[in-house]
């Protein structure tokens, strides 16, 4: 690709826009998913560090946050350093997080008593330099609160993930309200990959990128996080695709035996 010719007017405009956005901030880099289809859609080539990201579950997962929790755990597993997980409901099962690569040794849980506490701890943790990722489960996230969180993340370069989890299905409408988060995802479960034998195949997610600052929305169909927290895009020619993924093959094998 030839180098783009310099356009001073455009550069000046870009500088002005970024000033207006209130960001003299350095580029902190990004955490790529390792899936070209997804990374290509994100402006930073991955989840921007020093930013707040929102994840919600679709359907019943909005209440249970199992898929969105696992998706977030997979992202956190691919960072370095300690991970802080802030929640009011203490129902995460640590062995499952270990199965997507997030070791219990790295994960510190904060049992907050209210959403206010969650947000306060979230902001405090995002300001801290040295955490790999901060995950918080919140129901409501106002523009003001998310703006504060986003600014806190910018100061430290931390990766913040807000899992939106509601108590009632009707509260999930709150997800339509605008927030200052950089990306917004919705994870819904899809029927798993059919196996040639009885048993549950590898689970699949519909990953909707609902909002990306300076990016576009997109939908992806992926297989759930593997043992290192990586996502694998779905390919429909299954048996052939499985052949080059021995871990997957072994898992299928195990289930078949089970």
């Amino acid at each position: 690709m030839p180098a783009p010719e310099p356009r001073p007017a455009l550069e000046a405009l870009r500088a002005q826009v970024s000033r207006l956005e209130g960001q003299g901030r350095r580029r902190r880099g990004a955490l790529p998913f390792g899936v070209p289809e997804i990374d290509g859609r994100l402006p930073d080539g991955g989840l921007a560090l020093g930013a707040l990201h929102e994840v919600a579950g679709g359907g019943h997962d909005a209440l249970n946050a199992a898929a969105s929790g696992l998706f977030s755990a997979g992202i956190a597993a691919r960072t370095r350093g300690k991970v802080l997980w802030i929640a009011t409901r203490q129902d995460l099962y640590a062995p499952a997080l270990q199965q997507v690569g997030l070791s219990a040794r790295r994960t510190i849980y904060v049992a907050a008593s209210s959403d206010v506490d969650v947000l306060a701890c979230f902001e405090e943790a995002l300001r801290h330099q040295g955490l790999g990722a901060v995950v918080a489960e919140v129901a409501r996230l106002s523009m003001t609160a998310s703006r504060r969180l986003q600014l806190a993340a910018e100061t430290s370069g931390a990766l913040g993930i807000a899992i939106r989890r509601w108590r009632r299905q009707t509260d999930a409408a709150d997800f339509g309200q605008p927030t200052a988060s950089v990306t917004r995802w919705r994870v819904s479960v899809l029927p798993s990959v059919p196996l040639p034998v009885p048993g549950v195949g590898r689970s699949r997610w519909l990953l909707e990128l609902i909002r990306a600052r300076a990016g576009e929305c997109a939908d992806f169909e992926v297989e759930a996080c593997d043992a290192k927290g990586r996502l694998v895009p779905c390919r429909l020619a299954l048996p052939a695709a499985l052949a080059d993924r021995p871990a997957q093959e072994a898992a299928g094998d195990r289930r078949a035996r089970a």
Partner: protein, 464 residues
Amino acid sequence: MLSVDLAARRLGLRPGTPVAKAQALHPDLLIMDADPDGDRAGLERLALWFQHRIAPIVAPDPPDGIVLDTTGADHLHGGEAVMLENMVTRLKESGITARAAIADTWGAAHALARYGRGRITIVPPGEMAAVIADLPIEALRLPADIIDGLHGLGVSRIGPLAGMPRAPLALRFGPDVARRLDQAFGRQAEAIVPVRLQAPVQVSRNFAEPISAAETIARYITKLVPPLCAGLEEREQGVRRLDLLLHRVDSRTEAVRVATAMPVRDVRRLTRLLCDRIETIDPGFGIERMVLTASLAEPILHRQGVSALIEEEEADVSDLIDTLANRVGMQALYRFAPVESDVPERAVCRVPALAPEEAREWPDHWPRPTRLLPRPEPIQTMAVLPDHPPVFFIWRGIRRRIRCADGPERVFGEWWKGDAELTTVRDYFRVEDTSGETFWVYRTGDGEHGETGSQGWFLHGLFE
């Protein structure tokens, strides 16, 4: 030899025997170098222990004794005899052979504990003179040359010595003899200078004009913390607990306490922890005195830094932990650690956030659900016994048809936890409904035998 134990004494060895001679007599003798400094430190520690347990006025009485003023303390321990018995027994359990005596004076008690007859001696008030008159003069805490001199005069018991005219004694041996006699008989007072615990590091500030604004309080906190940290640095300690007392003009006191997970001596961190709590202070009509005390301090252990060759040093998060713990409570911050149990809810335990990391992990032969319900919820199902997964189930009013399933994974009861679990069994299935949601359900019992469980179905967790 400076000192021998009971076994050696039975062999005929005495303090003062040359080591070479003792070794010649008993070739496999265990000989250790004398450590007077260590002995003194040990005695000091033992004295502190007595101060905690028995009475407040305690002093080491080198080289081998401890003196206590138990006046007014004995009834707390069941009387003098019981107290002494307990003390001696407790020391014996720790491997220390001890003798104890109670008398009106330090000198007399010292003499009786070392030269008295029994393991325990209690002299009733007023009868002391008669009891110690019989003891040898070595019991008087006099220098060895004076003892030798007195032996030369033919004096070997305290009674005759006490009856001798003072002036010639003083002329020949100096004032010590008369002083020790007077101290033993209670004619001259002898104070016990008690051992003291190290006072906590404390700084304070008085205000001529009472303060109340939050910014002013914050400013003075930033002024108090550096001298506190300097005081801690002298002792090579860091704080685990910090108390800030604010004395108000209406003579009430506001208190702020912050705790840290590890010893801290960082001015900025401590200032921050205290300033975070200013909003909880009610200044009333003003604060006239601020006192900052390191109420719990511990030595700071320095850790060796990781060289940058292979391992990358992990960022320190203990300051964040402290900040959060002071907001939500230390017990609300935790990590999960594996427990060796197949029962899912028992396989995890909470450990403190900064507990040492353990090497073990959970086995991952079987997939585990992301969310585990706090307690299994009963579901209505239809399933073919003994080992088929349900065809459908109803949970929280929603009926779900099952498309495919994995299992069963059999979990046996842990008979060592209770007799009821001797035969119990749970069969876990991972089931996926038609919408793709995956659940973790189990049946209590093996599906064949009644004694293994009620054969009821429960939902225990949710997968992705």
